[in-house]
């Protein structure tokens, strides 16, 4: 038995780490754009990275360390992805850490970046901002804001997990992501801290397990970035651990952050769960659910609040997966809009479907009636605002 209690705030709920965000003059108005997470002792770190072949310099830098290395310092920045910058991009990271070493002892320091692709880091600005770092701070708000790019709100979450009357551990995370979010975790940074006494092998296993149904199940626009990262660090300060409890808490953290990203989809107004069931197998269910959450025509119909199930059906048919016009059923929440017996929507059904679509969040259920495969993907609508944000991104 265990209990998971939500806590206010973010990373400050976890013992053993210090963190802060400051302004390095990359963002205007003194908004934080540079931050650190550090610990006095070296800690275990586990990370999942983008499947993009052009991995950004900080990811390649991370991967040069020996397997199962420990670290005591993570540097993060926004506005510049340090991607497609070649060897120089990695040398820049080492150069930054050489400067930082004059201020505090670093052991296998790592970096994480997000922003525009194809430009070298402005090292002078970043180095100048090191003077603003207070390495004794535990300021979750400022570092959560430091990693934001097109995000319209900061993303923080924290839980206390009780494994017995007397024992508990904590898990907390910050996250950024709003556009480019896709099957393969695009332009998404997520840093999860815990004080649970989790074995290194469980860190990898549980992170990999839960990423499939959380960050890999969301989609804002189907693109995949060079910098996506989900990272888990543990201080083990609580000395407490229960695998089942930790797994569930990690799932809840990742699920909630993933949904926050969908909710913050660039210009998005609605969060929609595409629940596919009755597919030939889970793999086909996933292909269909993702195709639905990525379809421009489906996304614009969501924006137009139009219960145009024809676009849903057409996308299923185009997915290449097994499907049958006579077995398919489509629901908006619990409103059946298509089945073989009910080909056309009557006025009453249409009215009810319209009402569902007016909601801020709802589900579209596609029962293929073939077999037991199922998967739920999360998506959002496509609005004028999306186009505006992305047409103007660099300017």
């Amino acid at each position: 038995m265990f209990n998971i209690f939500p806590l206010k705030g973010g990373l400050e709920n976890v013992e053993g780490f210090y963190f802060q965000g400051v302004n390095s003059n990359l963002k205007p108005n003194n908004e934080p754009d540079l931050g650190f997470i550090r610990s006095d002792e070296e800690v275990d770190v586990e990370a999942l990275f983008t499947t993009n072949r052009f991995q950004a310099a900080p990811i390649k830098h991370f991967q040069k360390y020996p397997q199962d290395f420990k670290t005591n310092f993570l540097l993060v920045n926004s506005k510049n992805a340090n991607a497609m910058t070649g060897e120089k991009g990695m040398e820049d990271i080492d150069d930054l850490f050489d400067t930082l070493k004059e201020k505090l002892p670093l052991k296998n320091p790592i970096m994480s970046s997000t922003g525009v692709i194809g430009y070298r880091l402005d090292k002078e600005k970043i180095k100048a901002a090191f003077d603003k770092f207070d390495f004794t701070k535990r300021d979750s708000d400022s570092i959560a804001r430091a990693i934001m790019t097109t995000d319209s709100f900061k993303k923080e979450i924290a839980f206390r997990v009780e494994t017995s009357d007397k024992e508990s551990f904590h898990i907390a995370a910050i996250c950024k992501g709003a556009g480019m979010i896709n099957p393969a975790m695009a332009t998404m940074l997520c840093f999860i801290l815990t004080d649970a006494n989790i074995p290194k092998s469980d860190m990898k296993e549980l992170l990999s397990k839960h990423v499939e149904t959380t960050f890999n199940a969301i989609s804002v626009d189907g693109d995949t970035s060079t910098n996506d990262t989900v990272m888990l660090l543990t201080s083990r300060k609580s000395q407490n651990y229960d695998k089942e409890a930790f797994s569930e808490a990690l799932r809840v953290v990742m699920q909630n952050l993933a949904l926050m990203i969908v909710k913050d989809g660039e210009g998005a107004n609605k969060v929609v769960a595409f629940e596919v069931k009755g597919a030939k197998n889970d793999k086909e269910a996933k292909i269909i659910a993702k195709a639905l959450s990525n379809s421009l025509l489906v996304k614009t119909a969501l924006f137009g609040e139009d219960p145009n199930w024809g676009r849903i059906a057409s996308t299923i048919g185009a997915s290449g997966c097994e499907c049958d016009e006579e077995k398919l059923k489509i629901f908006y929440d619990n409103v059946l809009v298509y089945s073989n017996e009910k080909k056309e929507m009557d006025k009453e059904t249409e009215e009810r479907a319209f009402k569902v679509m007016k909601k801020d969040s709802f589900k579209i259920v596609c029962d293929l009636g073939i077999d037991e495969g199922s998967f739920t993907a999360y998506g959002c609508d496509l609005s004028y605002e999306y186009v505006k944000i992305n047409a103007d991104y660099r300017t």
Copy 2:
């Protein structure tokens, strides 16, 4: 030796066919929404259809005829796709033809539809409009308009092909398509007529060959419809044929119509050729070229006229195809914006790239530097207007 001469107008340049479009009260303002193409004698027909598993009723109706059947009548309509309508949808087509048979002899009549998915045809309106048909008309303009949906201009093309001083044949086509255009020919109807004495086997071979680099190489939004059709009918009236000449003429017809569709991409302002070369093989080049032409982030950058090559690189990296940061080169027309030696754009390069992006049409060349694979896909930008058109489509 042969020569291909462009002609004014459309289908009226081909002998042996009659065609007309009329209004059946599905479109307002007496705009044509119903049409026919017919011949006095039965003619050979070859067609390529959508890969969508939910093929529309008219496609299934076509496929029920024995292989190599001949026909003397094609009925077309817009505003209603007759898709996801099951057996009833096919019965409706037979019912329409039973009524038409009272007016003229039909042999294996076929139908083609485009419009909203999930509604039965309004047979009463369509039957009432049969009275407006003049079966002796050769009115390409009205039938070209009858198949339009969100198209902003009608698409017609015609050529005379001289195979010797004294011999020639004609080829002409009408086409519709503006949104939903994707790798697999989405919501695209194309009817090609010829009087060339082409063998049946060549019809299939050449249609299949040229569809790959034309209609299957364009993309407006990555969705695939239930109704896509490319159809070739021959009257053989010219009694003339040359395979090489016909193949080239067919390619030119299909290529031009495909580019017209891209140009008419819903809300699109620019036509962009994504020329991928130096890929591991042609298949990988095609995957990358299509990924680029379908990427929302690339499309919004085109709309914003932002030479943001980082999004191009990121999309290539995410394609799953072999690529190497150090071998890749990216050009906007002839402006090199990325190579391993030239990581960041200097001001002058950026100015030149900006100028390219201001153009109505240009190419983005990605040389992967791996091997000899190449493919060119055509795409357009994503504008506010696209969202508006597709959010409002049914209303």
